[in-house]
Amino acid sequence: MSENTFSVDDATRLVAVGEQAAQHARRATRWFRAFVILQAAYALAFTLSIDVAGAGYWKAFAPFVLATLCIWMIAFRYRQSVPRHGLRNMGIAVATWFALYTLMLDPALQLFQLSSPWWWVLAGIIAVTPIVACLFASSRR
């Protein structure tokens, strides 16, 4: 595009192209946020169903694993649009959540005999924070 023929129409068109390109890019990548939120919700629902609702461990574990597998398969299918280190960090976060809750928070609450369900809710929320942290770009730097 020569400087001499550059018009307001060209500028308007380019601004629109820029907005469209940015919108396409955002739309194509925002699924990752939904993936992180779903995984965090499943993890919290799993711990709450066992320790607050009193569901059996395996009865709660089976749907959790199935739901997790489903969203991971979808994530893997769209892996090209995953942010750098996105899936790796999510894997680490899910492992951290499981270890944190199963090996630290759950035994600690039982040890101190804290029977109020709010302690378990709090423990569930604390355990899920590594997954929620994956929402932020700074967690991948």
Binding site: V8, T12, V15, V17, A25, R26, A28, S81, R84, A137
Partner: protein
């Protein structure tokens, strides 16, 4: 006061480079293949575009081995983001400056 047209960055002005920076502006580092699909350009076109923008330090290109393959990640730098925003502001200034005839010149 000079016309905003004179502030246009010719490096960004090409449609592919402009679209690429517009897409990268709000994203983290993204995969080369994803970018090629998003912008609907061939690998070679994207590669050439990235080379130009990388030389200008507008983007970073990182190659990482994944198994036997190499995965290429592309991200925008602060310089690139600033330059793009300046360019966009210039275009918007032109849009707001008036009718098309206002800025057309004869050689």
């Amino acid at each position: 006061m000079s016309h905003p047209r004179k502030s246009i960055d010719s490096l960004i002005h090409s449609p592919v480079r402009f679209s690429l920076l517009a897409a990268l502006r709000n994203l983290e580092d993204v995969d080369f293949r994803f970018l090629a699909d998003l912008l609907e350009v061939s690998d070679s076109t994207l590669s050439q575009t990235l080379t130009v923008l990388e030389e200008a330090q507008f983007v970073t290109v990182r190659k990482e081995p994944v198994g036997r393959r190499t995965r290429t990640w592309v991200g925008i730098t602060k310089t690139g983001r600033d330059a793009f925003e300046q360019h966009l502001a210039t275009l918007q200034a032109i849009v707001e400056s008036g009718t098309p005839n206002d800025i057309q010149e004869s050689t």
